[in-house]
Symmetry: C2
DNA sequence: AAAAATAGTTGCATTTGTCCACTATTTGCC
DNA sequence: GGCAAATAGTGGACAAATGCAACTATTTTT
């Protein structure tokens, strides 16, 4: 059994040591691959690179007036990183920001026409990309994994109800 | 149906739009969380931050003489990123490098005593971290997800045999 | 012998993430 | 009412990681 093969020169001879049975390894590695693929598909789209932009755009589009801090929780960024992200998207004329009347500390975010257009454009792309990318996993298993990770995610960010 | 809730001020009122059913979203998000947690546990350990170091150390430890380019494939980095990673680990006296006799373009990597020690130290930590982190997922489901992702990963990097 | 492929290195520009301190506003408590 | 603490967002500095492209050295192909 390959537990100490010397000088492997091709990937086929390699076993992954304890990482072989480590879920976090696969999550971390698949993340790299899936993110790269997604970036490639959105190339030049104003929304590319990094985890935040897509989620932010879609979230603001379907939740007009949502606050930066809420989005920050959802994508697990700290407020300063979130602020910069929003700043960037405002410069690109995708979002618009205004101070909340009832909570003058907070802001309400809205999409611009251009932002709405882009949201409509990327929605199907994002969905398709995920399906395509994982197409070598059977539909059923894909759903299984997603179901489990969804629950994990929800617990993690503190989404209790549906 | 929450499809256009205005001004949600807490995360519980938010639905994730199409991302709700997008596997890539969960992979990307869980990646952030699990990586952060892992970094925290390995704080100061010489191996922390970024996906590569741990895998590299363990791989070199259990496959003496392995080449940088093979590791690069496994962790999905390009050669330049891999080179820098190795450089860093050599500076920290974890690895040692020598030109292959048969293939003078290539290098063989070996762990130093310090590297071997660290490998032995982090092996259980990495395993435990993954188990702990995903502990709110039932053992059985954890195994299920891992099994599926493992197969996906193998196909992706071109590991055919076992 | 020339051309192409492979392994690795280096430099550079871009991005990203993190930490910390700072302002403004609201809430809670006395 | 008034003061302290919590919350929302901003801004700066700094360390890393990433990706791209050009470059050397070696091997393989033709």
């Amino acid at each position: 059994m390959p537990k100490m093969m010397p000088k492997p020169t091709t990937i086929e001879h390699v076993d992954l040591d304890v990482l072989e049975d480590t879920l976090s390894f696969y999550i971390r590695t698949m993340n790299i691959a899936v993110s790269r693929d997604l970036d490639a598909r959105l190339d030049g789209c104003d929304v590319a690179r990094g985890t935040g932009k897509i989620t932010t755009l879609l979230l603001v589009d379907s939740h007009p007036g949502i606050r930066p801090s809420v989005i920050a929780q959802i994508i697990m960024k700290d407020r300063s990183a979130m602020g910069r992200l929003i700043e960037q998207m405002i410069e690109h004329d995708l979002l618009r920001r205004q101070t909340s009347a009832s909570e003058r500390r907070a802001q309400e975010l809205y999409v611009t026409p251009k932002g709405a257009e882009l949201a409509a454009m990327i929605r199907p792309i994002v969905t398709k990309q995920s399906k395509d990318f994982f197409s070598f996993i059977a539909e059923e298993e894909q759903a299984q994994v997603m179901d489990i990770l969804r629950r994990a995610y929800r617990k993690m960010v503190g989404m209790t109800g549906g």
